[in-house]
């Protein structure tokens, strides 16, 4: 069919629709042809069958759906003695106790603050860096924007006051958190 330039003006809707449909069919056919060429090339170049899964692997990764075992075919609750290395202190910790360890290790949370402050109040021989960390925690606990602002060292009496203030604020904190939008 010869191609000739023609104006689209003055053509009625049915004619326009049939032209549009023709163009659409040509495009679909070209796309199908493209796919055929891809397959042809892959077969000839030798990589078409490369991703065929071997029977062994298929069996290996098959989902198991039986009572008493998980999808991997393993019995429940056998993962008891897992360990991991704490990124903070590099000690080897039992996986199931990692979270409480990390809390103390990072000096976070109510419990660790209380313990730490008691330690500070009772002795003056605390490691400098340790008390710095707790200071930051006291003040950063109620701070949304985690930043690297430096905090000045506070005096002992201030620490006790801050600790009580922190406990009070924390009791108010819970309902506020769940309603906030991301910053």
């Amino acid at each position: 069919m010869k191609m000739e330039e023609m104006s689209l003006l003055g053509l009625d809707n049915t004619k326009l629709e049939s032209i549009a449909h023709e163009i659409y069919s040509d495009l679909v056919e070209d796309a199908c042809l493209g796919l055929c060429f891809e397959v042809h090339r892959a077969v000839k170049q030798g990589y078409f069958f490369l991703d065929e899964t071997d029977i062994e692997s298929m069996k290996d990764f098959e989902i198991v759906d039986q009572p008493g075992v998980d999808i991997f075919g393993e019995v429940y609750n056998q993962w008891k003695n897992k360990e991991c290395v704490c990124p903070n202190c590099s000690r080897s910790i039992a996986a199931s106790r990692f979270a409480p360890h990390l809390e103390k290790c990072l000096g976070m949370g109510r419990n660790s603050s209380r313990i730490a402050n008691r330690r500070i109040a009772s002795s003056n021989n605390v490691n400098k860096s340790e008390s710095d960390q707790e200071d930051n925690d006291d003040l950063n606990d109620n701070d949304w924007s985690y930043g690297s602002e430096k905090r000045a060292k506070k005096r002992k009496s201030d620490k006790v006051f801050l600790f009580s203030l922190k406990c009070f604020l924390e009791s108010l904190w819970q309902p506020v958190v769940s309603g906030l939008y991301p910053t």
Binding site: K2, M3, D26, D30, L33, G34, F37, H40, R41, V43, K44, Q45, G46, Y47, F48, F49, L50, E52, T53, E56, S57, M58, D60, F61, E62, I63, D65, I71, F72, G73, E74, Y76, W79, K82, C84, C86, N88, A95, S96, R97, F98, A99, L102, E103, L106, M108, G109, N111, D137, N140, D141, D143, W144, Y146, Q174, S178, L180, Y181, P182, T183
Partner: protein
């Protein structure tokens, strides 16, 4: 076919090569002797200045990069016999002759002139009339690749549609060496429908089930999975503490094929380090963790200062997937002027019946309209009920007058929330944990939620029809923009003080799995829909380009 068998018989090397290509373990040395994809008949063509001639043919008649060359191609490339412009037009490689393939006009020319090679003008494939097949000669392929690259470079350079995209995405093709290795090693890890790859248990690190559930939901968010598995995160953070990198690593773990559970201790460390307000190890809220994790991921996604300068124009993957726009309209009761604000959101928190704030009626003079195929009768509350309540016009009492810009005084008003922009992944948070000043308790009211959800009635654009009280769910199945599918559910069992989180996630379209820390088991859709529901994750069914 018989013809191919006859051909193969005459060419023993070609036959061996073909079988090798088909993966049937022919001796590998055949591949190094001759490429089975090419043919010997091109030798007549590869003389003198053939490379340049071939380039010209590609540039003028196959890959026309500019509007001018395209016009020239359209005008000059017609079959010399019948004048056809399509019909798989081919150009002879030896002379200037165009002929269509479907009507065999190019074949006639080849026979008459003994010009045995032609090129397909649509895709640039070289056809050999002696072999009666398309062939792939290494040298000619090299030229084709170069010309194609040039074409795409210019095409995209000058295209208003995709500025800055310099190169077309090309599919992977193994090199000879890679082919060899892959043949020597036939074991494959392929994701099929009945495959455990993509699923993995997570060890509980001490009441960290809240984190495990969120990890399961995120690793089964299709768009997020695709983003990380195609290695789209380019880290710009100097230190080793990028949460997005850790997320990427997590996907690698989930798709590793390992069957033993993963220990997400590094993830916990990173999240707690970057979101210290999640202080404390006591039972934490999965919803809180989700928001904190999304926040840190969002911050780490592009850490070269862009975020700080322009927080509203971030286009990181987290924003692209999770951020929606919530419209708040406050209408002055006196002058009826409307003040509108739009705020970004990552989740929608919904009140439930049974809490201290009354749930019913949903709006004054509640209509009995049918939404999402359900009308409210006595029976369980539905997610749709919760959404209708969330988007109801609410009369703010006389104690909460707002300053009206139109009246220049404080007036009573109504406020209404609707969705302005829907996120790709919509997360609904059923507010089951009540923390008022007097009491802390868990609301266990059953709320039924659907597998598929249409958000159209809750859009800002649907407000008009709803206000008239005549809103009926249109049976407009052509508008698919607002249709969502459930893909993850996080559940909480137990009390406020001590409880356990588990999740259901969807894999391979219609398979559901229950994730209970390290134990992953198959679940039925009924199990999922009957569960209590705390966090519900829905994914848009249809994605469109912006």
């Amino acid at each position: 076919s018989n013809r191919s068998a006859a051909r193969m018989k005459d060419r023993p090397l070609l036959r061996k090569g073909f079988y090798a290509a088909a993966g049937r373990g022919a001796p590998l040395d055949v591949l190094s002797v001759m490429s089975p994809a090419g043919c010997s008949h091109v030798s007549g063509f590869k003389v003198d200045n053939w490379k340049q001639n071939l380039r010209v043919i590609y540039q003028c008649f196959v890959w026309s990069g500019t509007a001018e060359t395209r016009r020239r191609k359209a005008k000059s490339c017609i079959c010399h016999m019948c004048g056809a412009h399509l019909s798989r037009l081919h150009s002879c490689l030896y002379c200037v002759y165009f002929g269509c393939f479907t009507k065999k006009h190019i074949h006639e020319h080849a026979k008459n002139k003994r010009h045995n090679l032609a090129i397909d003008l649509l895709y640039g494939g070289i056809y050999c009339f002696v072999c009666q097949d398309y062939i792939y000669d290494k040298d000619m392929e090299q030229i084709a690749k170069e010309e194609q690259r040039k074409f795409f470079f210019f095409f995209f350079l000058f295209s208003p549609l995709s500025p800055g995209v310099g190169e077309k995405y090309s599919t992977w093709e193994p090199t000879k060496r890679e082919l060899e290795l892959l043949r020597h090693n036939p074991k494959r890890r392929k994701i099929t429908t009945n495959c455990t790859i993509g699923l993995r248990g997570l060890i509980n690190l001490g009441n960290t089930c809240f984190m495990n559930c969120i990890v399961q939901a995120l690793t089964h968010t299709p768009l997020l999975r695709d983003f990380f598995l195609s290695d789209r995160h380019k880290c710009e953070m100097q230190s080793n503490s990028c949460l997005v990198c850790e997320m990427s690593q997590l996907f690698q773990e989930f798709y590793s094929g390992h069957r033993y559970p993963h220990i997400p201790f590094r993830l916990l460390h990173l999240v707690w380090t970057h979101a210290r307000h999640l202080a404390g190890y006591e039972q934490q809220d999965a919803h809180e963790f989700l928001i904190a994790a999304l926040d840190v991921l969002h911050r780490h996604c592009d850490d070269n200062g862009k975020k700080a300068n322009n927080p509203n124009h971030c286009n990181c993957i987290i924003d692209q997937i999770f951020t929606g726009g919530l419209q708040s309209d406050v209408t002055c009761q006196v002058c009826h002027g409307v003040s509108t604000t739009i705020d970004p959101f990552w989740d929608i928190s919904l009140d439930l019946p049974g809490s201290s704030t009354p749930f019913w009626p949903l709006s004054p003079g509640s209509d009995g309209s049918v939404v999402n195929g359900e009308s409210h009768q006595s029976g369980s509350t539905t997610l749709t009920d919760c959404l209708r309540r969330f988007t109801r016009p609410e009369h703010l009492g006389s104690s909460a007058k707002i300053k009206c810009g139109g009246c220049h005084s404080y007036q009573e008003s109504t406020k209404q929330l609707t969705m302005k922009k829907l996120p790709i992944v919509a997360c609904f948070h059923l507010k089951r944990f009540e923390h008022s000043a007097k009491l802390r308790r868990k609301i266990t009211t059953y709320v039924s939620f659907p597998l598929e959800l249409d958000m159209t009635p809750f859009m800002a654009s649907s407000k008009e029809s709803r206000m008239n009280g005549q809103y009926q769910q249109p049976l407009d199945t052509l508008n698919n923009d607002n249709k969502y599918s459930l893909f993850a559910v996080v559940n909480h069992q137990g009390t406020l003080e001590s409880g356990h989180y588990t999740s259901f996630i969807r894999q391979h379209k219609d398979q559901w799995f229950k994730c209970d820390d390290a134990i992953i088991t198959k679940a039925s859709i009924k199990d999922v829909l009957d569960s209590e529901g705390y966090l519900l994750f829905y994914h848009k069914q249809f994605l469109e380009y912006e």
